[in-house]
Symmetry: C2
Subunit: 306 residues, 2 copies
C-alpha cells in the first residue's frame, strides 16, 4: 500500500485534547500515550482531556479552552482523544483563523469531521482525518497498517495510497480531498462550516446508520448541489447498521446503485477509512490525484518525490 520511503523526520510531539465526548476509561488514554511514545512521539495530555460534563468531555467553555491551549503548547500535532458528539455546538465560538495560524496539525475522526471541514471552510487550512487516541491506540491491539499510514502521513512520506476496490468507476482526476463522516458532513449543509469544493474528491464513511438514512443524507448533499460538482466520490466503510425485513433489498449496494444513477460523478468504493480498525490518515483540504485501474484505486498524495 504506502510507498516505503522514510526520508522525512516525523513530528516530535502530540498533544491530546477532548473536544467532543467524555472519555469513559482514563486507562485508554494512558495506553494510547504509551503507544504513541513507543512510536517515537513525545506526548502531552491536555489538563481537561478527562473532564466530564453530561455526555461531553467538559463544559463547552472547558472544551473551547482546551482547543485554545492546544494552539499555544509546543507540540506540532494535536490529536482528538475520541469522537462522540460535542464539536457541532462549538463551531461558532472557535477562532478558526487562530487555529490555522497556529501551524498545528490537527487530527481526529467522526465528530471531528466538523472541525476538519469548518477549518477548511473558514480558512482553507489542511487538517487530518485519521486515528483518534482511544479508538485506534487505546485498545487491546493497534493495527499495524493504521499505525504505519499515520506515521507516514505525519512525516510526509506517503506519496500514493492504493487500495482494492470491487467496482470503481473509471476516473483520473485531481481535486481537493475533503469529507469524513457522512452524518457530520450532512449536518453542515447550509451552514458557514461546509466548505465549497467544486472539482473536489469527496470521501465519506459512517457507522450505525441504516442504508435508507445514508441515502437520505446523500440526497441532501445531492439536492444542495454538492455531489454534482465533485470530480469523484470515494466511499469508505459503512458499518454497524442493522438491516430489517422491511428493507426488502434496499441495502447499501442499492444505495450505491441509486447514487451512480442519480449523480453522474465517478464513485470509488473500498477506501480503507471509517469506524474500522484499518484506516488511512487523510489530508482534508489537500489537493490530490485520484486514478483507478482494474480492481485498484490510487490516491496520489504527492505528485513528485522530493
Amino acid at each position: 500500500m504506502p510507498d516505503e520511503n522514510p526520508h522525512h523526520e516525523q513530528p516530535s510531539g502530540i498533544y491530546l485534547i477532548s473536544p467532543s465526548g467524555a472519555v469513559r476509561d482514563p486507562q485508554t488514554i494512558e495506553l494510547a500515550a504509551q503507544r504513541l511514545k513507543a512510536m517515537g512521539f513525545k506526548v502531552a495530555v491536555d489538563r481537561t482531556a478527562l473532564a466530564v460534563h453530561e455526555r461531553f468531555a467538559g463544559t463547552d467553555a472547558q472544551r473551547l479552552a482546551a482547543i485554545s491551549r492546544a494552539l499555544k503548547q509546543k507540540h506540532p500535532v494535536v490529536m482528538a482523544t475520541r469522537g462522540g458528539y460535542g464539536l457541532s455546538r462549538l463551531l461558532s465560538r472557535i477562532d478558526w483563523r487562530a487555529v490555522a495560524d497556529s501551524g498545528k496539525t490537527f487530527i481526529g475522526q467522526s465528530d471531528f469531521t466538523v472541525f476538519n471541514l469548518a477549518l477548511l471552510a473558514q480558512t482553507g487550512a489542511v487538517s487530518l482525518a485519521g486515528p483518534t487516541a482511544v479508538f485506534d491506540f487505546g485498545g487491546k491491539n493497534v493495527d499495524d497498517l493504521t499505525q504505519a499510514l499515520f506515521q507516514e502521513m505525519l512525516s510526509h512520506d506517503l506519496e500514493i495510497l492504493s487500495f482494492e476496490t470491487e467496482d470503481a468507476d473509471p476516473v483520473d482526476a485531481r481535486g481537493v480531498l475533503w469529507g469524513g463522516n457522512l452524518a457530520m458532513v450532512a449536518s453542515l449543509v447550509g451552514t458557514p462550516y461546509l466548505p465549497r469544493v467544486p472539482g473536489g474528491i469527496l470521501f465519506l464513511e459512517d457507522v450505525g446508520e441504516h442504508p435508507y438514512r445514508i441515502e437520505r443524507m446523500l440526497t441532501q448533499l445531492w439536492h444542495a448541489g454538492v455531489l454534482a460538482e465533485q470530480n469523484a466520490i470515494v466511499l469508505g466503510k459503512f458499518t454497524e447498521y442493522r438491516a430489517t425485513a422491511h428493507d426488502n433489498g434496499h441495502d447499501l449496494d442499492a444505495v450505491v446503485r441509486w447514487l451512480r444513477q442519480t449523480v453522474k460523478v465517478p464513485v470509488v468504493t473500498g477506501l480503507p477509512y471509517g469506524h474500522v480498525k484499518v484506516k488511512a490518515t487523510l489530508p482534508v483540504g489537500a489537493s490530490i490525484g485520484i486514478a483507478t485501474e482494474a480492481g485498484l484505486a490510487h490516491l496520489v498524495l504527492q505528485e513528485h518525490h522530493h
Copy 2:
C-alpha cells in the same frame, strides 16, 4: 381544546396515495377507508397505493405517477397512507406548480414533511401536517381528539388550538406556521426545498432520535440561521429514543435548556403533535397567531369568526 362550531361543510372526498414507504398490511388501508367513510368522506384508493419496490411503495416512477394522478382525480383531499422514507429522492421530479394549482388539500406526516415544505418553498401553497391513513385510522383504535381536530381542520371550523404546556416562554406573535419532523426539516437545509420563513412559527417533532441527535439537528438549523429568525419554536413530542448511561444527564430537557440559552427565541413545549396517537392537524404555510399564558398555549388559526 378546539372550538366547537361546525358550521362549515367538510370536504366530500379523500384520495389515498403512498408516496413513501410500502404499506405492510393492506388491511390497514381497508380499515382506514372504512373509518374515513364512517366520518362522512367518500374515499378512493390510488391504484398503486399497495405497490412494493424494495422498501418503497413502488418504484420512483410509480410513486411520481401516483402523485400526478392525485392532482387530476375528483376528491379535494389527498392523504398519504403512511410515512417511512421515499419522498426525498423524488423532490426534484415533482411539478410543484401543478401540485399548488390543483387546489387539492394534501395531508401527511413524518416523511411527508418534505412534501409540505417543498410545496411551501417552491410555491407558497399551504398543505396539512396531520394524520396518515395507516398510523391514525388503520389501527385498532382511532383517537377521538385526533379525529375531531382532523375533521374540524378540513371543514375550517377550528379557530384556536389550545394545549397544556409546562414551561412555555411568554410569546404573543403572528407568523407563518411551518415545520414537521425534525430529521426531515434538517435534511432540507441548504436545498431548494427548505422554505425561508422569517418571522415564522416553527413546529418540530421526532421519533427514535436520541437527544444528542435532536440537538445536532437543531444545531444545523441554528448555524444555518433558521432558528434565530423565527418568532417562536413550538416543540411537539419526541418519542421512542433510548437514553444511555453515557448521556449522563444530557436528556431531552437538557437539549431544550441548551436551545433556550443558545437561541433567543421563545420556545413553547407540549404541542400535541408527533408520532403519537393524539395529534393536531396543522396548516403548514398558513399565517397564524401564537400566545401563551400560565400553563397554556394557543395557536390562533383563524382571527375572526365567519
